[in-house]
């Protein structure tokens, strides 16, 4: 009944009053083209529109810059010992900020550790000192530098050896692939701890032997992953199309394979960086890493861990820096992966 009434109420609108809007609208939509950017410009735009990635990138840049200019930034010589001023808690000037006022819990009572050690009124260490009276902040800055060097070198080895090796092996296939994969198997069958120990026979323990050990063994995983992906990609029709157009193999690798391998490369790199830092830390921890006076995040952690119950700040500071580096690289990696994928665009 109600429906019928409504039907009758519809006024008779003359035809001329109707206007076709859909068509124009559609044409308007069709016209919208994205701005004319190259693929890499597009990647940058997408990366910078990702807030998390930008924050991580900034954090990492700050850390990298500080460690790059370590000699200028560090307030003290990281290896200078002052045994009288050992194990001092953090202190920031003569401002009385809780946690940074130089007070320490001794036998249930808070005492001014700086006064007890007989330090002058102007002496203060922002992050305290270690058991030999070395400035912890300077040691962390230099230690971060060392750990980052290891991480960057490991990444470079991954990218320079691992990626091309995997692409060649996967692309050529057949006998080349068989031989290259047997080499990979031989390399990966030797534990890298053994490689480090062997390196120490030839070289002194230190950065050199760690880096060489990583260079020899580190690229294997990357090469394997890239090979498997290349095998899949090379049968894709767009690769065949590039071949029928006469594109050279090198060009196919750079134009078609690497952009489509980028997510694998980035994700694997995100594993490589923490692995390398931990590998160095582990070697330093068991005593065959960075030799004694020099600091790395690994040696700082192992030193700090010994006195963690009484002097927790000695481990907190390097642990926080290490965590920031890890989290920031991971999130930045996620951002990069999305940035390289056009389809992640909204």
């Amino acid at each position: 009944m109600g429906v019928k009434n409504n039907m009758e109420q519809i006024p008779n609108v003359p035809k001329e009053k109707f206007k076709l809007i859909h068509d124009e609208n559609n044409n308007e939509q069709e016209k919208i083209g994205t701005p004319s950017l190259t693929y890499l410009q597009d990647v940058r735009r997408r990366l910078f529109s990702n807030k998390v990635a930008v924050v991580c990138l900034t954090l990492l840049s700050i850390i990298v810059l500080i460690s790059l200019f370590a000699p200028l930034v560090a307030p003290h010589n990281p290896n200078a010992q002052q045994v009288t001023l050992s194990n001092l808690p953090p202190k920031l000037g003569n401002l009385n900020i809780p946690g940074f006022n130089g007070y320490q819990n001794m036998g249930g009572k808070m005492v001014d550790a700086y006064k007890q050690a007989g330090a002058s009124k102007d002496t203060f260490y922002l992050l305290g000192t270690d058991y030999l009276g070395r400035d912890l902040l300077s040691r962390i800055i230099y230690g971060t530098r060392l750990s980052l060097i290891v991480a960057i070198l490991a990444t470079l080895v991954d990218l320079i050896i691992g990626v091309p090796y995997g692409i060649v092996s996967g692309w050529k296939g057949g006998r080349t692939d068989t031989i290259m994969q047997r080499i990979v198997e031989i390399v990966s069958s030797v534990p890298n701890l053994i490689v480090v120990i062997l390196m120490m026979i030839i070289l002194k323990p230190g950065l050199g032997s760690i880096v060489i050990a990583i260079a020899i063994t580190g690229w294997v995983t990357m090469a394997r992953l890239i090979r498997a992906q290349t095998f899949q990609l090379k049968e894709q029709e767009y690769i065949l199309a590039a071949r029928t157009l006469g594109e050279s193999s090198t060009k196919i690798a750079t134009k078609h394979l690497i952009p489509n391998l980028s997510s694998t490369i980035i994700i694997q790199t995100m594993f490589t960086i923490p692995n390398a830092i931990f590998f160095e830390a582990f070697l330093s921890f068991i005593g065959i890493g960075i030799p004694a006076p020099n600091a790395s995040l690994g040696t700082l952690l192992s030193d700090g861990q010994k006195a963690f119950r009484f002097l927790p700040y000695q481990m907190w500071a390097p642990a926080i820096i290490l965590s920031i580096i890890m989290i920031a690289t991971n999130l930045l990696g996620d951002g990069l992966r999305d940035a390289f994928d056009p389809q992640s665009d909204d």
Partner: protein, 307 residues
Amino acid sequence: MADEREKIVQVRNLKQYFNIGKPNEVKAVDDISFDIYKGETFGLVGESGSGKSTTGRSIIRLYDPTDGQILFNGQDISKIKSHGPQMKEFRREMQMIFQDPYASLNPRMKVKDIIAEGLDVHGLVKGEEEREKRVRELLDMVHLNPEHMTRYPYEFSGGQRQRIGIARALAVEPQFVIADEPISALDVSIQAQVVNLMQDIQKEQGLTYMFIAHDLSMVKYISDRIAVMYHGKIVELADSDEIYNHPLHAYTQSLLSAIPVPDPEIEKTRERIDFDHSQPFSDDQSLQEVLPGHFLYCNAETAASFK
């Protein structure tokens, strides 16, 4: 009459084997010969795995043929080196349209760069401006909006992607285009669109097509001549009307009897002819011309019976 026309592709005893000498050896294409005339559309049909795609890929030298000759404009291209100047020249003359529009465009490249890939490889354009102009022309030719050239492939539908693939193939101005099941991944409504587009372009530019498909009605619609492949061999080759009206080989007859007809009266009485797959070939058989322009894979006795 057919012999007077210029032959653009002559395939002679082409063989394409894989895993030679191993237990899993595959004779994907086994000793086939045929000619393709300039300006025609040559249809190649057959069931899955019959070797029709492999034939296409061997002719365009994505594979190195095991044996036999492929003459393109009279020149043998089956043995030329994969990275020589001769090969580069050949790559301009012959192009391919691929089956899956979702796999045939690099997802990380813009439409502009996908289409211009051939232009860049062969140095056909000077400068960014000319490149862009040419890409616009090509997009226009395949009825796509030239404004869309800065988009990525995922922003297009299947039919549009296939037309981008066609534009890419035509960018280098080839004489001969192999279409490897170009419509089998598309909607039926879009299939006609793409096929008509291909025919229009053929008329405009005088192209020669080799059209690989398994949709018989579509092949009949587009092709001048049709070859039927079965187990790596061509079993019958003739003008498309001839094949449809007078199929001689038992396999062709079986294939044609399987086409559904959109008429319930006929469909009620349509009888499928079964093909005996157990003993398809015998040693004394070969492809011979049994009627003018009509080739049949048979033995001499059968061939004589037609004369």
